[in-house]
Structures are given as C-alpha cells and as structure tokens.
C-alpha cells in the first residue's frame, strides 16, 4: 500500500512536469501574448514595450521562463495575475468555492439519479420506463449544455419567474436559501448530461451482473428480492462505476465552463475563459496545473475506493 502510493506519487510528478511543459509551451507559442493589450494603448512606443517585456521577464528564452516559473512554483509561489496583480492562488481560491458548490451539487444529482435510472432500466428491461430513459439519455447527450441552460433560463426565469437567471447570490442577501435558490438551475443543467452518461453505464453494468450465477445463488438461498438487488447486484455493478466517477471529476470542470458562462456563475470555468481572453498566463497556468492535479487525484481516489471495496484488487 505504501509502496503503491510512493509509486503513484512518482508517476504523478512526472506527469505534472510533462503537462506543465506542454501547457507552458503551447500558451507562449500563441500569437499576441500578454503585451498585446499594451500595444493598443495610445502613445505606446516600442521602447516602452521592450521595457515592460523586460520587467515581466518575457524577453528571456522560453526554457528559462519555464524553469523560472517552475522553480517559483516549487517554492509555493504560483505567480501574480497580470490582470489584477493578485497572487494566482488567491485568485483561484476566490473562485474555488463557487465551482465546488456547483460541482458537488450537480454530481450528487447526476450520480443519484443516473444510478437509479440505470438500475431500474436494467431490472425493468424493455419496459416503458426503460425506453423513455434510453430516449431521454440520447436527447440529453446530443443537445449541448448551453442550449439547456438558455431554455432553462427562458422557461423558469423569464416565463415562470421561479428561479433567478444567473449569479450565485443576490447582492445584499446571501443567505443559505438564497444560495440554494440560485444553485438549482445551473446544477440541474450541468447534471443533465451526466445523468444520461451515468444511467447508460449503470444500466449496462447492472445487466452484466444481474444474470450472473451468484445472483441466482442468492435467490436460491431465499434472500428477498430487495436485498438480492441492493447487496448482490448493485454492489457488484457499482465497481466499474467507481473508475468512471474518478474520471468525471475533471470533466466537471470543463463542463462547468459552459454552464458557468451561461449562468454568470463566478466559478473557475469563467475565470479560465476570462484569463485566456486577457492573456493572463500565470492564472491560466495555475488553473491548468490545478485541473491536472484534480485528474490525478480523481484517479487516485477511484483506485483507493475500488481497492477498499473489491477484495480482489491489491494495490502494488
């Protein structure tokens, strides 16, 4: 177990180095760059531009810039945002809560509902429920998230007036109820696609298990149908889902990007988009590293959880 963690740590470090190199390289190869916004300032001369570049360290060769950035990162200095001159970690931290809130609530909805729909679809195969769920999943998967977001706003905010059209809280309010009120629409919209994915996977996984001999053994023992389903079928069907859940973690960040934009949700997705627009390299790199770590962490947690549930898996 300790051996496994050490090995995983090494692999993760190597991966993070590769990801950061590629990210850094690609980012600096894009035309424009942080200086382009100064270029439009009236009265800007080439000398001033050069001086700014030198101050920001942008005139050095790319590998040197990378090593400088990486060395600071190792010391805990994630750099300073070009845009508002605040430390990158502070900027990310400010948006982290909003994204986490959205991610957690939509994950709970999608895993809960998706799992239930999948199991019911498998146990009531070819029923009206199953067909409806299948068609629903196809629709949810083939229509982009922003469309659902816009339709949601149109119906529930404009026409019915039940839910707010955007933002995380009403300025001047900010009570728990107010947060929840704002949370409903974006988290449901973000969850839709994931419900579809989860229900399809869960249906297949359940069908794989439901015809296995040990399920028949349980029935032959006189175990009640409810326990057969929950203990023997679902327990085994959830195993492959754990790995899937681990991979969903970073997906939620990218999925949140669209949802956060539609609902003007002050999360990391929007921060990423805005920072790209401003060529705010330190923040973009910070977010990139952050999501890379999230990917690795998600997979690690999935592996650990799977190993703790399935006695056949030994981590080595």
């Amino acid at each position: 177990m300790a051996g496994f963690l050490v090995k995983r740590l090494w692999q993760s470090i190597v991966l993070l180095i590769i990801v950061s190199m590629i990210g850094f390289g690609v980012l600096h190869l894009t035309p424009g760059g942080p200086l382009s916004q100064y270029a439009l300032t009236p009265g800007m001369t080439q000398e001033t531009m050069d001086r700014i570049a030198e101050q920001m360290g942008l005139n050095r060769p790319l590998p040197i810039q990378y090593l400088d950035w990486a060395w600071r990162l190792l010391q805990g200095d994630w750099g300073t945002s070009y845009r508002d001159q605040q430390p990158v970690l502070t900027v990310i931290g400010r948006h982290l809560f909003a994204t986490l809130l959205l991610m957690v609530s939509s994950t709970v909805i999608s895993i809960g509902l998706g799992t239930w729909i999948g199991i019911r679809g498998a146990t009531h195969r070819y029923s009206t429920f199953d067909y409806t769920a299948t068609v629903g999943a196809m629709i949810a998967l083939s229509i982009p998230t922003f469309w659902f977001g816009l339709v949601g706003i149109y119906v529930f905010s404009l026409k019915l007036g039940w839910l707010p059209a955007g933002n995380m809280y009403t300025i001047g309010d900010g009570s728990l109820l107010d947060y929840l009120h704002h949370l409903i629409l974006p988290s449901v919209v973000l969850a839709l696609v994931n419900i579809a994915i989860w229900s399809r996977y869960m249906r297949t996984a359940t069908l794989d298990v439901i015809n296995q001999d040990f399920v028949k053994t349980a029935r032959a023992k006189g175990v009640g149908e409810r326990r057969v389903l929950m203990k023997h079928v679902v327990g085994n069907a959830l195993l492959p889902m754990i790995t899937l859940a681990g991979m969903q973690l970073p997906n939620l960040l990218s999925g949140a990007l669209v949802t956060e934009t539609v609902f003007t949700w002050p999360g990391m997705g929007r921060l990423f988009l805005d920072s790209l627009g401003y060529n705010d390299y330190p923040v973009v790199m910070g977010l990139l590293m952050f999501s890379a770590i999230l990917v690795l962490l998600g997979n690690l947690i999935a592996d650990l959880v799977a190993a703790s549930i399935d006695p056949r898996i030994r981590l080595a």
Binding site: K7, F214, K221, G222, E225
Partner: protein, 556 residues
C-alpha cells in the same frame, strides 16, 4: 420400464414414506422463435425420499430448466404452461413469490455448476453462509456465525475459522464448491438440487465432491436431484436415473437397470457414446514405415514470474519443468493432468505462442525453441492448433470461408486455390460446401469444432496441437469429433499432441501418454500401462478418480 410402474403405485402412501416431491405433466414453454416450443414437455417423475435421483441429458435437453422450475427460478422469458410440482400436498407452482422464497434455502437448496461465478466476489465466505440463515430469520448473529463455522468444518474445508473471513477469489474451485454445499446445507433442507456441480472441476476434486455429497445425503437422509451430462458420474452416485432428450423424458428407472438394460434408443446411444478406458491400446494410425520423429522436445523449461516490480518480491512458478518427449508421424501423444499442471503451457510452447526459458524443440532437425518469430513464421503453418471453446475460437463476424482461408492467403496461397482447398477440407471434416458462406452462429458446437479442425488442416500441418479439443462438447458429439480426428490422422499421418483432463478421452485417441503434475512429467507410457499398471502414485490417484471406472458402465 417396469420400475416406473412400481414408483407410481406409491402415490397413495403417507407423506413420510412416499416421494418427497412429485412432478406431474410439467411443461415449460420457450420464448417464441426458438427452435422448439417447449423447454420441457409433459414430464412426470418423483423424487424418492432419501435417494439420489440423477437427471442426465445433453445440452439443450431441458434438465436445468426442470431444476430451475422446481426452485421457482425460471428465467423471466420462460413460463410453466401446465403441470404441477407437489411438495407436502402443496402445488409449488401455485405459490406466490413470498411463499416460494420461504421454501428456498430452507426446504429446497441448490448448488450450481460453476463455483467460480456462483459466489459473490465482494462478500466473505462467512457472510454468504450466514446470509441463508439471516434470510429466514434464523438465530442471532453469533449463533449464525457459530453454525457457519460448523458447516465449513463439516464440508471439509481446511482451517474453517480462517475461511469464514476469506473472500471467494482466494479459494480453489473445489473449495468454492464446498462453500456452496455448506450454504445449501445451512438450514438442513429436505431436498438438494445439484446442477452439474462437478462438471467444472478436476477429476480428483470431482471424486471428492461426489463423495462429500453422497456422505451428507446419507447422514441427513436428504433427497438429492443431481443433474449431469456424464454417465460416469451417474454410475458413481445415482440410485435412480431420468434420461432426458430435447425436453422429453425418454427413460427412467433404477440406475443399475438403466445401465445394464437401457430401453430407449437414445439412452443406448448415450451410454455407447460415453468414452471408456480401453482395455488395449488403440491400433496405431501410422503406416509402419513412417514412425519417425516429427518433433523432439529436450529439457524444455518454462517459468512464470509474477510481481518483481520496484516494491514487490518476485514469485516463480515452474509451469514446465524439464520436459522430454518425441512426437511421431501418424501418432498421438496425449498429455493428461489437472488444471494448473502445465499441460496447456506445454502445448503453447510447441506452437511458440509462449517462449521457453531453456531447452530445445527440434522440428526437422532445426531448434525452433530458440528461433526468432520472424524466422519461425515460415514454419508456423506446419504446426497448427485446435482450441477448446468452439464458441470463442471463431470470429463471429467472419464467414466460415473467410475463417478457413485467411491463414493460407496470408501465407501466399492464391484466393481461388484457397477456396477450392477449403471446400475440399470442409467436406472432409463432415461439413457441406454451403457452410463456406455462412457465419459461426449458424452452427452447433460440434460443427464449429469441425470448422476449427478444417482451419488447422488447411495448411497440411505436420503437427496438430489439440488443447481440450472435445472437452466443451456433449458426449455423442465428442465421440464423433474423436472419430474424425482418428480418421484424419490415418489419412494425413499428422502427428497429434492431445491435451486433455479427461483420461477416458485420452485412452480413446492416444498412442502414448504423459502425466503431468505441477509442471513435471511424472509418468509416460502407453495408455494400457498408465491405466492398468501405473507406477507413479499421482497417476494412480488420477486413475482412481475417473468417474464410473469401476462400475457397471465399464462392463456394459
């Protein structure tokens, strides 16, 4: 069938002396569009109290359906359309689900064929055994644990206290089957239904499990419905037999009577098809002149290594340990042994699907063991393989023609020539030319195995490696395939390397036998010597475990 009459006279007797269970005119429908309308049709029989009743039949005969109908566990697409199943005056078919559930595990228990998949991989053995008692609200948690320990001891599991906390994947097939039996016995049921419980096990393990079932049945006076396809097994344990064919019950009676004087032609055919130990060696297929070696194996070794990463200790298992033997033209060398003995690894070494660690394999004077894959490729067609599972070994998306010709075409044969040859060989293996354009799913297991043989023959090989080539087939089909292999060998003088776990089959087709145990060849010689004058202790154990070896069946 005089015995049937005697049984039916018992109907009026009191519950204690009469049959524990009666099945009357049971018909179970198959879903529409299947090859026949009924899974079982109008079958009637009685399960006598305290006896072992064997139901024998080939695949698709409806024997498992019958067992599942008794448990009320038919797949949702199958329905009982008529008949009754009487237990203590109650018709089980009229009971609702909660009432049936109360009977399952308490009155009727069941064990299944494949012990590897019959236990929940995520639950400990102890939890699975106690679950039966918990499901019926029996005892406290401690009492159930104590009883589970008692049961595991009773079925002869080693270190039962530790076993309670083990997960199934750590247990061998035989041990898992013992756990299944412990589970089935937990509430001392009146009836035990055993659906091919030893089919997936090695012969020695099979003998032990049969013995265990018999012992327990006698001790508890249980009635056992034992489903099997193996007449050898029937002759070991059955008091009475029912023979089923395509959903019909064609014969029933006292086991010994059915063996000695089978009435129905199907029963006769079935008994005749059971592979028997030959008294004498098989007449050699080789013409006298051609007894020369094709493949000579010298000091061949293969070691499996696992683990050995940065942080774990390496484990070594000798899969093949210093093997020496010779394959001769027109002759069959058999390898027998239990699972894990290394016989399959040995076969794979011969066709270089695995690379050996040391030793030589001489083919026409060349050592192929040390050859690089690129050099060996030209020789590959000459050493061909027939696989065990005819369902998994043919690509379901390819036509038979494609499957059979793709190899030769890849080796440079012209398409038209390959086609002509394929048609010729398909006919030789007993398939008609129409098979060429059809897909594997349109064929039965036996026919698919013929396709597998045709595929191997396309190359005019010098050596055929047959890995359990008939193990997945019904006995009657098995006999046909063995006959076919014999015929082909006589015609082509191909040398065969025949891997099997079934000693009876080995005695039918082999000129010489190797007995393997834990990677080592412990004994070698002609079948007559191996079976009737074994020198090695392990060989003696294997031979003794052959089901039906010392029973009426051998004399029949």
């Amino acid at each position: 069938m005089t015995t049937q009459g005697r049984i039916s006279e018992n109907k009026g007797d009191s519950a204690m002396s009469g049959p524990v269970l009666s099945v009357r005119n049971l018909t179970v429908d198959l879903p529409k569009g299947m090859e026949r309308k009924h899974a079982v049709q109008d079958i009637s029989f009685e399960l006598p109290r305290g006896e072992i009743l064997c139901v024998i039949g080939e695949s698709g005969s409806g024997k498992s359906v019958t067992a599942n109908a008794l448990m009320g566990l038919l797949p949702p697409l199958m329905h009982v359309s008529s008949g009754e199943i009487l237990f203590q005056g109650q018709n089980l078919l009229e009971l609702d689900e909660p009432a049936l559930r109360k009977l399952r595990g308490r009155v009727v228990s069941m064990i299944f064929q494949d012990p590897l998949s019959a236990l929940n991989p995520l639950m400990t053995v102890g939890d699975q055994v106690t679950e039966v008692m918990a499901a019926h609200g029996e005892g406290t948690a401690e009492a159930r644990s104590a009883r589970a320990l008692e049961l595991l001891t009773e079925v002869g599991l080693p270190d039962p206290a530790l076993m309670l906390h083990q997960y199934p994947f750590r247990l061998s097939g035989g041990q898992r089957q013992r756990v299944m039996i412990a589970m089935a016995l937990a509430l001392e049921p009146d009836i035990l239904i055993a659906d091919e419980p030893t089919t997936a096990l090695d012969v020695t393990t099979q003998a032990q499990i049969l013995d265990l079932i018999q012992q327990i049945q006698r001790k508890k006076g249980m009635s056992v419905l034992f489903i099997t396809h193996d007449f050898g097994v029937v002759s070991e344990i059955a008091d009475r037999v029912i023979v089923m064919e395509k959903g019909h019950m064609v014969e029933q009676g006292v086991a010994d009577t059915v063996f000695s004087t089978p009435q129905h032609p199907y029963t006769k055919r079935l008994i005749a098809a059971v592979p028997r130990l030959r008294e004498t060696d098989r007449p050699s297929a080789s013409s006298d002149r051609t007894d020369d070696p094709v493949l000579t194996v010298e000091k061949l070794n293969l070691v499996y290594r696992s683990g050995g990463g940065w942080f774990s200790r390496q484990r070594e298992v000798k899969a093949v340990d210093d093997a020496n033997f010779t394959l001769r033209r027109g002759r069959t060398l058999g390898v027998v042994g239990e699972s894990g003995s290394g016989k399959t690894s040995l076969g794979r070494l011969l066709i270089k699907l695995l690379d050996s660690d040391s030793g030589r394999i001489l083919y026409k004077g060349q050592d192929i063991a040390s050859m690089k894959e690129s050099d060996f490729r030209a020789l590959r067609p000459k050493i061909q393989m027939i696989f065990q599972d005819p369902f998994a070994s043919l690509n379901p998306r390819s036509t038979i023609g494609h499957i059979v010709t793709i190899g030769p075409i890849a080796q440079g044969m012209r398409k038209a020539d390959a086609r002509a040859k394929a048609l010729r060989i398909l006919e030789k293996v007993g398939l008609d030319a129409g098979a060429f354009g059809r897909y594997p799913h349109e064929f039965s297991g036996g026919q698919r195995q013929r396709v597998g043989i045709a595929r191997a023959l396309m190359f005019d090989p010098d050596v055929l490696v047959a890995d359990e080539a008939v193990s997945a087939l019904d006995v009657s089909i098995q006999a046909q395939i063995l006959e076919l292999l014999d015929k082909i060998q006589r015609e082509t003088q191909v040398a065969m390397f025949f891997i099997t776990h079934d000693l009876r089959v080995a005695s039918q087709i082999c000129d010489e036998l190797l007995v393997m145990q834990k990677g080592q060849i412990v004994e070698a010689g002609p079948p007559s010597q191996i079976f009737y004058a074994p020198k090695n202790a392990y060989t003696r154990e294997l031979v003794a475990a052959i089901p039906g070896a010392d029973h009426a069946l051998q004399k029949a």
